[in-house]
């Protein structure tokens, strides 16, 4: 059984709704970190939210989160990966909407706003997983511009924003911009010993 990182839950008690979190993780602990982030948001803070999945297909993520007991009833997934996989959208989940490609950045933003308008919960979050996955498809300057718009759009609506990134796979200028736009940092990045 996977053991969630309780320090993330503790850190979440110190933030406000209009905070924007930069969540740094490594390639090996990315799932643990996102699960440790989601679990307290849903159970302790009783929030609903949107999970934007650009790093892996949402059905895979749902299966794993369900397995470790994270309640997903109040989470809507936006899957930017599965449409590019043959048969990727053929699954029983009704809480996933699909974006053709991670290149459709504006569509991701609008789809998130659309789902937020439908959320029954009063306090909501948006998790963007992940910046490094978006960086595979999108040009550096465009991605930096997008994150600026993305974070400010949700902050203005009092929606907690969590932007997940693997620092050593993220363009330095994008990372520098994240440092600038985000109000809080959860750092679980890998320690590289050279």
């Amino acid at each position: 059984m996977i053991e969630l990182d309780q320090r993330i839950a503790e850190q979440l008690t110190e933030i406000t709704l209009n905070s924007s979190l930069q969540v740094r993780c490594g390639t090996s602990n990315a799932f643990l970190v996102t699960a440790s982030l989601l679990e307290p948001l849903v159970t302790e803070f009783e929030m609903g939210g949107i999970y934007i999945s650009a790093s892996r297909p949402a059905p895979e993520l749902i299966d794993t989160l369900t397995e470790i007991g994270v309640p997903l009833g109040s989470i809507q997934f936006i899957d930017c990966v599965s449409s590019a996989l043959l048969g990727g959208t053929d699954n029983p989940y009704t809480n996933i909407s699909y974006i053709d490609s991670p290149i459709m950045l504006e569509s991701i933003l609008l789809r998130t706003l659309f789902h937020l308008r439908q959320m029954p919960t009063e306090q909501n979050f948006v998790v963007l997983d992940s910046v490094n996955a978006l960086a595979i498809y999108n040009e550096e300057r465009m991605l930096a511009e997008y994150l600026h718009t993305f974070i400010n759009t949700f902050r203005a609506r009092d929606v907690l924003t969590a932007v997940v990134t693997v620092p050593d796979q993220t363009p330095p200028s994008v990372l520098a911009n994240l440092d600038l736009y985000c109000t809080d940092l959860i750092d679980r990045g890998q320690v590289v010993i050279s």
Partner: protein, 253 residues
């Protein structure tokens, strides 16, 4: 920078997410606006949403369907949660088939002459007057203009129609089909519509690495200051949604 203008025209609030902000409050009342766009760019959805918002406020609305039968149109728009068939049943949204209107007026010829055009404008105006229409859509005016043999007649037709509708206090969206929103394209099919109407909004697609992103741009709108930037469009079950297009993601027009 220039301060608040001393006089502002009353606005017809479109109710379309983001569009009223772009137009600084909505379309000035009584305007005739060209909605130019490529196929699949969201023209019809946007126009229907414009009418639905009017109907929600108790306004009488009219939609003249020239490109597809009204039955097919209504079947297509029923998928949207913003659309309520009761608005049609209650007579708030009135849908007319142009083909039916042509036969009713005896306009069976392949091309229209000036008398035919006058008869058509009068018929539309009579409908507007009788029902008290304040929001009107003709989808599309391009299909209609194909029956008009020369630019001068098209110009006269649109000018007379726009003037008459404005006099009735009716805010109108005239849909124009354009084949390309590329560099050499006009905002309309015949190139004359754009000059005489009050506003032009263009919908199109931007090809981003093989994926088409819908956009809208307000080119002209008399009587209001407005943004002239491109905005990304998403068609959701709740209607059209807009957000500014990423500056680094916009190609040339």
């Amino acid at each position: 920078m220039f301060g608040t203008p001393q006089y502002t025209r009353d606005r017809c609030v479109t109710g379309i997410h983001g569009l009223d902000e772009i137009l600084r409050g909505g379309v000035p009342y009584g305007s005739t606006v060209l909605i130019g766009g490529t196929c699949g760019s969201g023209k019809t959805t946007m126009c229907i949403e414009f009418l639905v918002h009017g109907a929600q406020m108790g306004e009488a609305c009219a939609y003249f369907a020239a490109t597809e039968p009204s039955v097919k149109l209504l079947e297509n728009v029923r998928q949207y949660s913003f659309f309520d068939m009761e608005m049609v049943d209650k007579g708030l949204i009135n849908v007319f088939d142009m083909d039916v209107l042509y036969s009713w007026l005896g306009l069976t010829k392949a091309t229209f002459d000036r008398d035919d055009i006058d008869a058509l404008v009068k018929a539309i105006t009579d409908i507007v007057n009788t029902i008290g229409v304040t929001r009107l859509v003709i989808d599309s005016v391009t299909t209609l203009c194909y029956k008009v043999p020369n630019d001068q007649l098209i110009r006269d037709f649109l000018f007379t129609l726009g003037k008459t509708l404005a006099t009735q206090g009716c805010t109108s969206f005239l849909v124009a089909e354009i084949t390309s929103a590329g560099a050499k394209a006009h905002w309309s099919s015949f190139g004359v519509e754009e000059a005489i109407l009050d506003g032009i909004m263009v919908l199109g697609d931007i090809d981003r690495m093989g994926h088409l992103l819908r956009y809208i741009q307000v080119i002209k709108m008399r009587g209001t200051d407005h943004s002239r930037a491109k905005y990304a469009v998403e068609l959701t079950p709740m209607g059209v949604m807009l957000t500014p297009m990423l500056k680094w993601g916009v190609g040339s027009r």
